[in-house]
Symmetry: C2
Subunit: 897 residues, 2 copies
């Protein structure tokens, strides 16, 4: 604990600064920073994240904290020249969460704290706007009842619908001050009925309740889920920002809005944003009203028919505040050297900044911003590299709709997150999760999304909404997830109750196919062909060029076919780190021959079957070697247990029996005899290679023969033969000796030489523990972190459903260790093996070929422990290249500190 | 390489000594030692084990080695005053193997090297015994053809049978010199026919062939198997002893025999042995002739009807050589301070010693010899402790026939290895292995056994032979294995061809039940009741007392029932290191309630089912706590995956469905839903405890409630609650917190306190790697080396049949790591976790509860890495106690060096 519980900001002075993000949260740190920069920010204070952690133990605010808050509150009163709980001219507060990293929409907010039956009159008198005062009070009672006291939000919404129906009006704004008074009374009685407690009239009681509610919200389920998906530790906690209220809803001379210093969708350097006149902040974000554009330039870019095209812009409606905002935009970018996502309120013509933070952006935008900011001289090349998140590159690699495909465009919305997505329509997050579990691809269609929909969005191919702007929940979250999204499609009518939607004159029901183009905003009928993305963005080439100049770690790919190999090479792969030979056997024409081999009664029969398999393998290898001309190709010898290749249904067994001319019973018995209790720990990998050496012999023959063929064609071929699943030195030594013997024989028969290496996968904990011995039998180690994770944790990847999601939810595990390398446990073995391996064989090459090879934090770890390369799936190659560069830059920055 | 390839011994001088066992083998080192002690040993030389290893690479004897042999051979010629290959009076040689430890009957031997058509005449002339000379030559050609040239031994034996039939004689000795000449010619032509090569007439060629054959024999299958069973490393190699021939078959004044300086069966201090007049050494060992007793005292002890009772003893037949032998017996015991197993030959009245080595003995004998040698002042208490092998104690714990059982004794043989054994009769090693694989218990019945039978003997309950003495192959090997054996039962007629045996007038066929009593030699009809052994041997008490005084390591037991707990306590267990609660649920009355709990639809239903289980568990714990009054009892909370408790047959599912009043389909679906691909790595252990906390809660309640009950009775109760399968600190921390909460609640409700500890099993590699963190949440660690071995090697214990036996056979693994702790891999994790654990929590208790806890070498390892205790099955407790003492003594001896 740092000791200081509450940090003041206001009057041009702040206790904190931008560097105190861990203690004050991102929002609190930046509010303090903005104050120091001379930017107009409503005064307030931040309660630290440490207090949040402390709260989780006691479930109560300490007396010390309350005393500190009261002390700082006096400073705010001085800065605003108003008093909290003053019946004549009350100072009101907003209470907002603010974690170390932004968690949009995840945490609860309460506005207008300080209002009660007395002070509301003071506000009405002072503002001269009774309707505004009672609407503010109505919002407080509604939010407080929902968020702090736990009343069902829908019950309260229903009360609003009822009074609107009774008055015969459609909009909230059509309700009068008296209507609102009646509504407040209704809310209070609902609260009393549902909770047995009165809405608190003491402003301080409201304040403590609000702070407590933010702390409690850290542990609600949707926050858990957001953190789990976004890999945010559960023990960070959130800070609370208590800030003097300013009002964007004090009439036609007031407004509230959100803006980005550049276009977050494509990265263009233009001031981009949306606002609403006479509104509070949540009205913009919630997407219930269509927001207006910040400036004329932005409005001109809207697609035809968009409602906002007919509405005035901020520079038209309020030119002075707009000018002030535009200046602040430049100041913030110069200060933070990154695109900023800002919130502002104009109260009665005066501009207030409520927030600034690093702006979430699409992959395309991230790349463009990095490239242009470097060109502008705003950032160095190395700083520019850190402006792109590795996962953002994923978006550049998303599918696009085939330009040659015939498409029927049914309507158009906002291009909220790029890429094309298609799937069956679902109308709820639950349906999305269920259909996904059945292996279906889905597009989630909603009027608007809310944090409750997170799980459904996560499994959907893409998201389509009928309401909301580019900063709506759906748009922000989809961009964060790198998923295609079309938002605010006003052509679309969604009826979730009947499970139907209408667009372009056609009615769709759940299960119908739909395609969206998040790059253009188009909604397309059916499922036209998609094409893989092209990486031809010149900004991307520039940034990736910097990454390649910067990084030390090489990036290879996992590829089993010439096609994948070619694609990965286009993505920048510097070789193949893992070519799984077994995948070559699952083709329909091949599986039968593989089965013949497995079911062979004796060595001779097995050799006959293997002789049929060999030319197929050799053909595959030739294709891969050609595609990887000049680069290393690591081929793993057969790894899975043999029974994986065998049929398990009687009908399939019968086919095989007929084909082989044996009794069905024979097949059944063999399948039965190969059954294993725990196949993951069974007879596979090098254990097969040692017991049935003819299998590996055949594979080695195919590899070397292929290498000879392509080398004669002039290809620079560099095969590396990898022996899987070794746990003892003798396994590796015996198989290495035999591999070399077979390779030398093939070369002698061909009277032709190729260079090759023989190494192993380190995936058994024992091999890591004894890596010094192992290294003496290996030219290279490739860490198979999938299996290493399974065995180090004792988890079967196939059987973790019963507990792993719950472990992550509860924070027993910070992450799913199959997605992100467990650095303290599995990583300890990797590091130990790297050190011991180099000790045993100073010339050894070290790499990683588990799925972690494409995870940025794992790539950084591999760099730090001194591996030579990572290998990952083709689409993750650019991500790994960038991650490898970023860790170098960060190391340099650390060293410079 | 030490450089020196060949070591001479003879003429009272030797290049080597007893300390050079690794280089010269046990036999070679002891021959050198005996020479130095002034004991008459035929001169010769030893080729080192290093040459054997070198031979495995090249498959040829080096020129340097041949030159060295020729040089030393000249010294032997001088000592014997004869020349090798001398046509008039040839010096002949034996060639024998001699590994670092004795491998009886495993390695090949060739005698009478140096004879050919020329030199045999010289031998005939010089000895004046043409028949002897040609018989010697016949033996050479036969052995050489078989052992060196690879001719089928049976073909040669068949030729002998044919000539005997042709001459109308029954015994080999009835064949004349001319018959033998004819036989030699026949042998040579068989050799030529079968191998295409002539029997070599050049004595040097014979010598090189003989040495090579010994080296080659190191890698034959039966030698591999013997080493695998006896855990002898495959890379030790064997030395070759080449020694001037002396002949026990030069007539009635010659003899050959084997003897023990004490009785190897019961340890009595009497000179015990067997010999044959006019015979060569292998005649005694092979058991083809019934040997005579060494002295009258020995003969008097033979059972009535034994053929040897009618034959003269050595002290009767040759009193002078006997006297010389008896003196050597004393000299050797005084020198080696252990019982010696010696081989001697009397050639024409002159005594020659051919070998001395530490004598294999029964467990009873080992205990008695240790106790008596200490009492005699021959050894110190600590030396005495090293005279007993831990595995020997196993024999003392073998079953005995219930004294009250009605038994029908069908015949009696020699009591070759103690204990009673019963099972189905099998007549071949293959049948034994097959029946064992089917889960049957078998008694292996053979006329005599040979090294080819090793695998069958290993799986048999006991061994019965109709031929051979106490030093026959069957007897020696069975004692080594600690298996009951009745040897040389002359009442028995075995016909392996028809698969029948006759004894006591009854005919048995394969599959009939038979019982043998290896302590008395009795062969008993059927399967009378057996009783567990009593540990009431006063020598045992003495030795175990010394062990307990000496050791630092405590020994606990793994016991799940009050009965096992009591028995283990009688065996000296100092607590329970592992009480598996799940074993308590497999009883017929309980499994149903367990199933109800698992199939409960929700928490409430599960709690109802658990409430039924709780009193049963509490009752078990009370019984165990009472049995372990004053000692620690570590109870492991539920560990296996839930589906292990569920029925898998439809009929059983139906019973359960009826009992629970649900549809069969419901049960089927639940069983299906709990199915796992790799249950070993699935949802079990603490993963269950975290997802279904009510299960562990109930168990903790039962433990604490039981402890309260028995403590009120005055029992000193010391429960330790163990949380299994943890891999992360949070798992352990969360469950520890909950365990303490439940325990405190139970005690508060009872208003009564008991002390208890909460700790964990270290069985997941990650837990070992992060033991410093883990230790902060644990009062104790117990290493679960079974699972730790599975995960460190990536082996499923259930699925290793496909490769593990072959791995051990080929030496890829020195041992089965589930039997003997893999010290370099798994042990590395244990040691790391012990060090880190103590760092994280200096007060932590450390133990091991895997099956390795009863393996002597693993016990020694646990001592060395500083564990506090080992825990093993009740019958292994005495073994662990002794092993723990021996490692202390050895450490002391090492330190004193």
């Amino acid at each position: 604990m740092s000791g200081k519980r509450v940090f003041f900001f206001g009057d041009g002075q702040a206790d904190g600064h931008a560097g105190m993000r861990n203690l004050l949260g991102g929002k609190g740190a930046n509010l303090a920073e903005m104050i120091t920069l001379g930017i107009p920010v409503p005064p307030g204070f931040t309660v630290t994240t440490e207090e949040c952690i402390a709260y989780q133990q006691t479930n109560a605010l300490s007396d010390e904290l309350k005393a500190d808050v009261k002390e700082v509150l006096a400073k705010v009163e001085k800065a605003m020249d108003k008093k909290f709980a003053d019946a004549n001219d009350p100072l009101l507060f907003s209470v907002r969460s603010g974690a170390r990293v932004s968690m949009p929409g995840m945490m609860d907010t309460v506005l207008n704290l300080g209002l009660n039956d007395e002070t509301v009159q003071g506000l009405a008198n002072k503002s001269g706007n009774a309707r505004f005062a009672f609407d503010s009070y109505r919002r407080l009672v509604q939010m407080y009842g929902d968020v702090v006291m736990g009343v069902d939000g829908h019950t309260l919404e229903h009360a609003i619908d009822e009074i609107k129906a009774a008055r015969g009006v459609k909009l909230d704004t059509e309700l009068s001050a008296d209507d609102l008074k009646e509504l407040i009374a209704t809310f209070k009685s609902i609260i009393k009925d549902e909770t047995g407690q009165d809405f608190p009239t003491d402003p301080f009681e409201q304040l403590w309740g609000g702070i407590s509610a933010v702390f409690k919200s850290w542990h609600v389920k949707r926050a858990y889920e957001y953190r789990a998906i976004n890999r945010i530790p559960h023990d960070w906690g959130t800070a609370v920002n208590v800030q003097a209220m300013v009002f964007g809803n004090m009439g036609e001379n007031s407004a509230t809005g959100v803006a980005f210093t550049r276009d977050p969708s494509n990265g263009e350097r233009r001031f981009y944003g949306e606002f609403l006149i006479d509104a509070q902040g949540e009205d913009v974000v919630a997407g219930t009203r269509t927001p207006q554009q910040l400036n004329v330039a932005g409005r001109d870019l809207l697609p035809a028919g968009n409602e906002a095209k007919t509405l005035p812009t901020l520079d038209e409606a309020m030119p002075e505040p707009y000018k002030a905002l535009d200046k602040i935009r430049g100041d913030l970018e110069n200060h933070y050297k990154d695109i900023q996502d800002i919130e502002f309120t104009i109260q009665d013509g005066r501009l207030w900044m409520l927030q600034t933070r690093s702006g979430k952006r699409t992959g395309v935008a991230a790349i463009r911003i990095a490239a242009e900011m470097e060109a502008e001289g705003l950032v160095t090349m190395e700083e520019a590299l850190l402006l792109v998140e590795p996962d953002h590159l994923d978006q550049l690699l998303h599918d696009q709709i085939d330009p040659d495909a015939e498409t029927t465009e049914m309507g158009v919305g906002l291009p909220a997150s790029p890429g094309a997505a298609q799937g069956e329509i679902v109308f709820s997050a639950e349906d999305a999760v269920a259909a996904h579990a059945d292996g279906k691809k889905v597009v989630l269609v909603r009027r608007e999304t809310s944090p409750e929909d997170i799980a459904g969005m996560h499994v959907a191919e893409g998201i389509l909404t009928s309401r909301g702007g580019m900063t709506s929940h759906a748009a922000v979250v989809a961009r964060g997830m790198g998923k295609p999204c079309v938002a605010g499609c006003s052509d679309l009518v969604v009826d979730t109750k009947t499970g139907k939607m209408e667009i372009g004159g056609k009615t769709y029901t759940a299960g119908d196919m739909l395609t969206i183009n998040g790059t253009t905003g188009a909604v397309i009928d059916g499922a036209p062909a998609l094409v893989p993305p092209h990486m031809d963005d010149p900004n991307l080439a520039k940034v990736m060029g910097w990454a390649d100049e910067t990084r030390r770690l090489k990036v290879r790919t996992n590829a089993d076919t010439p096609h994948d190999a070619k694609q990965a090479r286009e993505f920048g792969a510097q070789g193949i780190g893992l070519c799984r030979t077994e995948h070559m056997f699952f083709g329909e024409d091949r599986i039968l021959k593989m089965r013949e081999m497995i079911l062979a009664e004796n060595l001779e029969a097995r050799e006959v079957a293997l002789a049929k398999i060999k030319p197929m393998q050799q053909d595959d290898f030739e294709g891969i070697f050609r595609a990887m001309d000049g680069l290393e190709v690591t081929v793993r010898l057969l790894d899975p247990p043999l029974h994986e290749f065998l049929p398990h249904e009687t009908a399939d067994m019968k086919v095989l029996a007929d084909e082989m001319g044996v009794e069905l019973k024979t097949i059944e018995l063999k399948v039965e005899s190969l059954h294993e209790m725990n196949p993951m720990l069974g007879h596979r990998g090098c254990r097969l290679g040692l017991i049935y050496p003819e299998i590996y012999d055949t594979q080695v023959e195919a590899i070397i023969a292929a290498a000879i063929v392509v080398k004669k064609e002039g290809v620079d071929v560099r095969p590396e033969i990898m022996i899987p699943l070794v746990g003892t030195r003798r396994e590796l030594g015996d198989l290495r000796t035999r591999t070399i013997m077979v390779a030398e024989r093939v070369m002698a028969e061909a009277d032709y030489k190729v260079d090759y290496l023989v190494g192993t996968m380190i995936e058994i904990p024992r091999a890591a523990l004894l890596a010094d011995e192992m290294a003496q039998e290996a030219d290279f180690f490739s860490f198979g972190t999938n299996d290493l994770t399974q065995m180090t944790f004792g988890y079967s990847r196939d059987d973790t459903n019963g507990f792993l999601p719950e472990y992550v939810r509860r924070g027993i595990l910070t992450n799913d260790p199959f997605q992100q390398l467990d650095q303290s446990g599995v990583g300890q073995l990797v590091e130990m093996a790297a050190v011991k391996g180099r000790k045993g064989n100073p010339k050894i090459h070290l790499g990683i070929c588990g799925e972690h090879g494409g995870d940025p934090s794992s790539v950084a770890f591999c760099h730090k422990v001194g591996l030579d390369y990572v290998s990952c799936s083709p689409f993750r190659v650019p991500i790994a290249r960038l991650a490898a560069a970023q860790v170098m830059v960060r190391e340099k920055l650390e060293a410079g500190k």
